[in-house]
């Protein structure tokens, strides 16, 4: 914020603490003192108007046992260096000097040092150095705001170095909120904060990965560990709509188009992440805030800070882990024969072949296409400031190699950031420049098929991926491809995406308490993608010289995509903040426009020159290519928004927010939406009748909020009925012609509205050592934008409309605890959350969608997209049981086949016998972090998990010899029914395509449902910081070495599948069913180095 250096204050008999708070509020001075010292002081009366700070301080310290001095923008309160040092047993006093640092070894200026039981005191300088005189055996007390105070018994040594711990729960911490900051003590919204320390030095690919497990209700699911396709789901407080459930992302005050943009950031540049969960904190973001807001603030320099250079380097290996274990070749062949014989068909393999398989296995193809991936991450930053300017410059490089074999697949990211601020008299200017580039090179085909084509093969010794002669071979499972050839020779997708964001911020005080601010920002994304696909000869192992795929020998193709998007954001804000005695009033009124423009074009050509990719004879230009006219999108949002707040004596807190948004996505009559919220807070611990709490436990606040939020996440141009012309739909006389399709628009579209109620409490216990926050919320969403489920008779083409409603409830709990004994410092952090949703209105009442055999249902009264299907009643034991049981139509099962529950008892298994089988959204999500420090050593770990989730799986991982496409069976499938194993889990082996197989595996039942709860050691790090004495000899302030691991341990019920695997996206949108064809689970092991000088 922008502050004048003058103070206005009228108070009668007020404590100094109150005055200091006013000074801090009205100026940008920081004041360092400790509360014990202030207890020696007398209340003062004061009446000044626009008085310089020094004048106010002089009034304060008149006739007090304290004095002050000012260093830069820091006011340091200290004991009056009166004649005390001359009194008493002066002879036993010795002078001691030393340095005070934080846990990271950085100097701490402005720390006050006091000899316990005396008035003798001192303060550290800018480099953390101090000098004080004390008697041997006396106790030195080191205190400062933001750090936990520390007592050291002085043993008479000449030098004393002290390390202070950050006080993480300090109530005076500043919390970033929408369009401003607030003291933690006066925050009335449901806001979580993630700090830099939780993100730095972790071997993560991006910010989203880093945030997993750090905050309650921030549910992040990493669906794929592929560095080139890091598909992740991010949800804040569960599922509240059928449509878009993405939280809004704001980086340094600028709203981003897509929550994924956080992954453009260098995780090391982040100072803090605020997570706004309730209507009270989020309504200021209006029509896009329904799913919560994630505010990221990047690091800046500090005034008066000496240039500090930080270097960090991490390197390690990402090692793929294959979770399924194929049977030995001969065993696989025997069981495959059984499956045919059991179905009354002939066996597939002769005993001769089986003998041949028994001579040894080949390498599992899935293993054959994978390798360990090298990962490195280097950062350098320079931070500092003068009296009126600050600066931060940082450079980052991140490189993760793919675990797929192939030509240099992987991802590289380059980051550059400069954050500058300067004061020119009353005008404060700040500029942020941020550039990043993502260079990715990846497999050109479908990753799911790639995995399928390498995992569906048994380890028969006549299946060869690549011969010693360099030839690639096909076989009867792969038909005409080879996954290793596709990777190594098939081509690539190369992406080079630049991103620039710049913002300028000017602030000026108009009159006392009122500031005007203007922000202009530009986000620019030029993106380029080049795809090449190559023919490569594939041979038959029999030794034929003609490649089996010779007919594709002209299949070389090239695709070019270029896009540029710009997002221009202009904001004008008026900020008011003023105290009148015990009354603090603040407010905000603002206007903003965001204009988004995207221009893209894409050119696709097939049958091009093999080397250059240029057109040649017979080249086909794909007519789905488009030019910039076809690839243009424009949208705009105009907004008015504001805030009014009042607090009385820091005890009763009130705040109201609103935003009035107009969006180009909607037709004129429905364009503007109003989103208000109110919040109330009560700090019980400030009440005299609750004094015991403050004295014994610490702080206690209860708070509540209520408000309306919006969701306008609907595609552009949905209000228009449009006709799309598609090329090459039909033809006459061998001339190709276009065809037209249409999309009906709905001019009545409007926002979704979400009404959120939140109640929460923040409390500390054990004199502040244990802090706890609890929130309960209820979100009601109405007018949900959805494409109504309509009868197919209508012929499709139904416009989206505001037709759904949902309710979503949940709670969050956060606990932090600090424990110290002898030289150990432990920090424990736990976060735990749950949410549950229910559809309350759906046009057509229910919808069942089916992907392969997995069914999902939307039904009023159920969570969105619940799994639906049959329930197993065990396996048939004998013919009598079959005779007495209800059966599906057309199935004549045998013992060992699956029996289903006849829900309605009508003697036949049909659609009416289906049940709700489970829910795929993670519930009871939790994170647990623990760190411990002992002298120079530190250990920290992050555990993360899901307490309750169902996952539906299908495909070869579930069904042996799946559908005839797979020839393999895995070890986890071995508990199958035989007459000798009648209590088996899996049914008997049958051949693909038979009625028994479709009964056993094709029906979509609780056979497909698995428990996906898990707990995972997400990150573990062990570090050692060199003693300062040693590092300073090398001219460094701090040197730390560490080793770290990621995903080293996962505890879950089903070990053949990554429990994070899911077919659902953030909005419960699913492309298909989950066939468990995942990129392998990666375990990281590496080491790193931090240097500061």
């Amino acid at each position: 914020g922008s502050f004048a250096q003058q103070v206005s204050l009228t108070e009668k008999r007020v404590g100094l603490e109150q005055v200091f708070r006013e000074i801090k509020r009205q100026t940008d001075y920081d004041i360092f003192y400790n509360l014990d010292m202030l207890q020696q002081t007398q209340p003062i009366s004061i009446s000044v108007r626009n008085a310089p700070v020094r004048q106010v301080l002089d009034i304060c310290f008149r006739n007090q046992p304290l004095s002050y001095y000012i260093e830069g923008k820091t006011i340091i309160i200290r004991q009056k260096p009166a004649a005390t040092t001359l009194t008493g047993a002066a002879s036993r006093q010795t002078s001691v000097s030393g340095r005070v640092t934080d846990q990271a070894g950085s100097a701490l200026p402005g720390i006050s040092i006091r000899v316990k039981g005396s008035t003798n005191g001192s303060v550290t300088d800018a480099e953390g150095r101090f000098r004080i005189t004390a008697a041997t055996g006396s106790v030195l007390v080191f205190t400062s705001i933001g750090y936990q105070s520390k007592e050291v018994t002085f043993s008479g040594q000449p030098e004393l170095n002290v390390q202070l711990e950050e006080d993480r729960q300090a109530l005076n911490d500043v919390v970033v909120v929408g369009y401003g900051t607030q003291r933690k003590a006066s925050v009335v919204g449901a806001v979580d904060q993630v700090r830099a320390a939780q993100i730095e030095d972790r071997p993560v690919g991006n910010v989203m990965q880093a945030l997993q497990g750090t905050a309650p209700s921030l549910v992040i699911q990493q669906r794929s560990m592929n560095p080139n396709d890091n598909t992740m789901n991010i949800n804040l407080r569960g599922i509240s709509t059928f449509g878009n459930n993405s939280p809004l992302l704001v980086i340094d005050g600028i709203i981003n188009e897509d929550v994924g943009a956080m992954n453009n950031l260098n995780p090391n540049d982040i100072e803090s992440v605020s997570i706004l969960k309730d209507a009270g904190s989020a309504a200021i973001y209006g029509s896009r805030s329904a799913n919560g807001v994630i505010l990221i603030t990047t690091k800046k320099g500090k005034k008066g800070m000496k240039p500090t250079v930080r270097l960090s380097a991490l390197a390690g290996s990402q090692n793929p882990e294959i979770l399924v274990k194929p049977l030995k070749g001969y065993q696989n062949a025997l069981l495959r024969n059984d499956s045919y014989v059991n179905s009354g068909a002939n066996p597939i393999y002769s005993s001769e072949q089986i003998r041949q398989f028994a001579t040894g296995d080949s390498e599992y193809f899935l293993k054959g296409i994978l390798k360990n991936g090298f990962q490195q991450n280097h950062n350098i930053s320079v931070q500092g400031g003068s009296d009126n300017s600050t600066y931060l410059v940082s450079l980052g490089y991140y490189d993760q190699r793919s675990n797929f074999k192939g030509p240099d697949f992987g991802l590289r990211r380059y980051n550059l950031r400069t954050n500058l601020t300067t004061d020119i008299g009353k005008l404060k200017l700040s500029a942020i420049m941020w550039y990043d580039r993502n260079d990715g090179k990846s497999f050109q085909g479908d990753n799911g098929f790639l995995i399928a084509n390498s995992s569906r093969l048994p380890v028969y010794n006549n299946y060869v991926l690549k011969g010693e002669n360099g030839r690639y071979y096909n076989n009867d499972v792969l038909t005409n491809g080879n996954p290793l050839m596709d990777l190594e020779q098939g081509g690539f997708i190369q992406q080079n995406n630049d991103h620039f964001q710049g913002s300028l911020n000017a602030e000026i005080e108009i009159f006392k308490g009122l500031k005007a601010r203007g922000i202009a920002s530009l986000d620019l994304r030029p993106e380029n993608r080049l795809i090449r696909r190559f023919y490569h000869p594939l041979y038959n192992l029999s030794g034929d010289e003609t490649p089996v795929n010779i007919q594709n020998s002209a299949q070389y193709s090239i695709e070019d995509y270029n896009g540029k998007s710009t997002l221009l954001n202009l904001q004008a804000l008026l900020d008011y903040n003023r105290s009148f005695g015990k009354h603090n009033v603040y407010g905000l009124a603002a206007f903003s426009n965001e204009s988004y423009r995207q221009r893209r074009f894409e050119l696709r050509q097939q049958l091009v020159d093999p080397v250059l990719g240029i057109p040649t004879t017979g080249t086909i230009f794909d007519k789905t290519s488009y030019n910039t006219v076809g690839g243009t999108t424009e949208r705009s949002i105009y907004s008015w928004f504001g805030r009014a707040g009042y607090n009385l004596a820091d005890r009763y807190l009130f705040e109201a927010n609103f935003r009035y948004d107009g969006s180009s996505k909607f037709a004129r009559s429905n364009r503007w939406g109003f989103f208000p919220s109110v919040s109330l807070g009560w700090r019980l611990s400030e009440e005299t009748f609750f004094r015991f709490w403050k004295d014994k436990l610490g702080d206690l606040k209860i708070r509540g909020s209520y408000g309306q939020l919006g969701n306008q996440a609907v595609d552009d141009y949905q209000t228009f009925t449009t006709y799309d012309i598609y090329q090459d739909q039909y033809g006459f006389n061998n001339v190709s012609l276009p065809g037209t399709g249409y999309t009906f628009g709905n001019p009545d579209l409007k926002w979704e509205t979400n009404t959120t109620f939140n109640i929460g409490a923040d409390a500390t216990f054990l004199s502040g050592k244990l802090t706890a926050s609890f929130d309960y919320f209820r979100k009601n969403t109405k007018d949900i934008l959805l494409t109504p489920q309509t009868p197919l008779v209508l012929g499709g083409a139904v416009p989206r409309a505001n037709l759904g409603a949902m309710v979503n409830n949940g709670w969050e709990l956060t606990l932090n605890y600090q424990l110290r004994h002898s030289d150990f410092v432990h920090n424990f952090g736990v976060n735990l959350a749950d949410s549950w949703n229910k559809v309350t209105r759906f046009e057509g009442d229910e919808q069942i969608s089916k992907s392969d055999e997995i069914e999902r249902i939307i039904r009023v009264g159920l969570p969105l997209y619940s799994y639906f299907g049959y329930k197993r009643a065990g396996l048939f034991r004998n013919a009598d049981e079959i005779k007495e049981s209800a059966l599906p139509i057309g199935v004549s099962p045998s013992p060992g086949d699956v029996k289903y529950v006849d829900r309605n008892g009508d003697g036949i298994i049909d659609d009416n016998d289906r049940f709700v089988l489970g829910h795929a959204f993670p519930r009871l999500t939790f994170g647990f972090n623990y760190d411990i420090q002992w002298k120079g050593f530190d250990l920290n770990m992050l555990w993360q998990g899901v307490g309750k989730r169902d996952m539906a799986l299908r495909g070869e991982t579930i069904e042996p010899f799946h559908g005839g496409y797979s020839f393999v069976m895995f070890e986890h499938q071995l508990d199958y029914w035989t007459p000798g194993n009648p209590d088996a889990y899996w049914p008997r082996l049958t051949s693909p395509g038979t009625a028994s197989t479709s009964n056993n595996y094709g029906k979509g039942s609780d056979f497909n449902i698995f428990d996906a709860s898990y707990i995972r050691l997400k990150n573990i790090q062990v570090g050692y910081t060199l003693p300062t004495a040693m590092s300073s000899k090398a001219g460094m302030r701090k040197v730390r070495l560490f080793v770290s691991g990621q995903n080293l341990l996962t505890i879950s019920k089903n070990t053949f599948i990554d429990p994070e695997s899911t077919e659902f996206g953030s909005s419960m949108n699913a492309g298909g069913a989950n066939s468990a064809r995942n990129y392998p689970l990666l375990k990281y092991i590496g080491a790193g180095l931090d240097i500061e000088f």
Binding site: N346, D724, V735, S736, L792, G993
Partner: protein, 520 residues
């Protein structure tokens, strides 16, 4: 700043669309596309006893084996595709009059084309599902949730009436310009109407309509001289084609053969192989039925070799080189070629010992660069079918005689290349029932693999027999010690249920007025 009123730049809006003849035609083209899909021509064979689906398990296989329930994907997909096509037709009919830059005559003709397409879609619906919702202009969302099924007979009566009505509006194939090759002609309306009557066993009407075509009153049609080359792109628009689905290089193409052709010819896999039963239905070239005493494939009706690849077949690859295809497990694959051998029923190779040849035009120019994406037009109705319908109807009315025979079956056998001997060419002696089997067998071999067999076994009510008795493949199975026919499981086709498809389950959830067919 971007203004609040934005309009799409890559799409027409309702205001700007109906302004030119080309744009109107573009909607019509979409309707043509929605009329038939190459996928169904191939998948429909799996619904019959002509082929066996060994690789994976398609929706059609579930239907053919009687285990499909109301949520079967094909039941839903066909229903959806037909009503989507119908919507395109209604959108066209409701808006085409807004196009002023188009002659009234042209408008009427285009409307007649689209009415034909709509009638053919309703014919599909009524044939598969029986009673179906029927409407002739766009319905509202509310209507779609309450509409009831109209009796099959009424829908079919409307289909006949529509086809008759447009037959007098549409030009004959000779009246069209060459540039309009492939458009719906008056002859096509008569032929489709004949087919619709055939599926109802309305023999008199079949005869009436076939006679119109045989008398050349709606364009002149005749058999094309070479059966095999009838399915080659160089002979598109020949005298036999009454209606075909249009394909154009390089992007409007179909690629189904990649899952049916011999592996050595560059196929990806064999989804389904012709059955021994189909192979056995081909007569000897001299008109006798094949017996076990005969060599398996020698001296057979030449249409066998033109339709099916068997062990020892000659195959010409795209470079013009001929080689022998070996499907027998003990045979020797031609040098330099991937194996086509039978390796078991659940593998990527043929499940029966046979592959497809029909439609596999050897000309490289028919395909996109060496693959199986083909530009060959797929016949929907050809004149041979008209002759077969006529022969069958005449026999059913006990009017078969050597005159009718010579006009129909004899012509087909002559064209096929049978020996010119009485046993092959002349009307056989026998009862009506015996002749019925002869005609039905002729129909099966002439139209094999064209997606039509399924309609025949259903209207003849023979599906309950032919689909349940188990399938056979070639004599390649050695599990008993000596080579025997490959035995493949039959299904449980239910007489009381499976002759009609289920109304898709999702439809009935939303529209309680839709009744279900018996047994589902």
């Amino acid at each position: 700043c971007v203004k609040m009123d934005v309009v799409p730049t890559n799409k027409f809006t309702d205001e700007t669309y109906w302004t030119s003849e080309d744009k109107a035609n573009s909607v019509l083209n979409m309707a043509y596309r929605q009329m038939f899909s190459s996928d169904y021509i191939f998948a429909n064979e799996i619904l019959s006893d002509n082929v066996y689906n060994g690789y994976g398990s398609t929706n059609e296989k579930l239907i053919a084996t009687g285990v499909a329930d109301a949520s079967n994907g094909r039941f839903q997909a066909d229903w959806k595709a037909c009503y989507e096509g119908i919507k395109t037709c209604h959108t066209f009919l409701a808006n085409v009059d807004r196009v002023t830059a188009m002659s009234a005559e042209k408008r009427e003709q285009r409307k007649a084309e689209i009415r034909f397409i709509r009638a053919s879609l309703y014919l599909q619906l009524a044939t598969w599902y029986g009673d179906v919702p029927h409407f002739t202009e766009d319905i509202t969302l509310e209507q779609s949730k309450t509409i009831t099924r109209k009796p099959q007979a009424e829908v079919l009566a409307w289909v006949h009436q529509e086809l008759e009505a447009v037959s007098s509006i549409l030009p004959s194939k000779e009246q069209y310009a060459a540039a309009d090759n492939g458009r719906i002609t008056s002859g096509a309306t008569i032929a489709l109407n004949a087919r619709a009557y055939l599926w109802e066993n309305n023999w008199q009407k079949v005869i009436e309509n076939c006679e119109k075509l045989m008398g050349n009153t709606f364009g002149s049609y005749d058999l094309f001289g070479n059966y095999e080359q009838l399915f080659w792109a160089q002979n598109e628009y020949n005298s036999e084609i009454i209606l075909s689905s249009q394909y154009v290089l390089p992007l409007r193409v179909w690629g189904n053969l990649v899952d049916y052709a011999p592996i050595s010819a560059g196929a990806r896999l064999c989804l389904a192989g012709p059955t021994q039963g189909l192979v056995d239905s081909y007569l000897m070239k001299d008109g006798r039925r094949w017996t076990a005493a005969d060599a398996p494939y020698a001296n057979r009706d030449p249409r066998l070799n033109a339709t099916i690849v068997y062990d020892g077949s000659q195959w010409k690859d795209r470079s013009g080189v001929e080689y022998t295809i070996i499907t027998h497990p003990d045979g020797t694959t031609a040098p330099g070629k991937p194996s086509d051998k039978y390796t078991g029923a659940g593998t990527a190779q043929t499940p029966t010992g046979y592959y497809y040849r029909k439609y596999a035009d050897p000309a490289p120019g028919t395909y996109v660069s060496g693959g199986w994406n083909s530009s060959l037009n797929l016949p929907i109705i050809r004149f041979a079918d008209v002759l077969l319908m006529y022969a069958e109807a005449k026999n059913e009315l006990n009017q078969m005689n050597s005159g009718v025979w010579d006009q129909t079956i004899k012509k087909l056998r002559q064209r096929a290349g049978f020996d010119n001997v009485p046993a092959a060419m002349n009307l056989p002696t026998g009862s009506q029932a015996e002749l019925r089997e002869v005609i039905r067998n002729e129909r099966r071999v002439e139209l094999a693999l064209e997606g039509l067999r399924v309609y025949d076994i259903r209207r003849w009510r023979t599906a309950e027999t032919v689909l349940t008795q188990g399938f056979r493949g070639a004599k390649f199975d050695k599990s008993s010690g000596t080579y025997d026919y490959i035995k493949l499981p039959g299904g449980n086709f239910s007489r009381s249920r499976d002759y009609l498809w289920a109304i898709p389950r999702s439809e009935r959830i939303q529209n309680p007025n839709l009744t279900q067919n018996p047994g589902y």
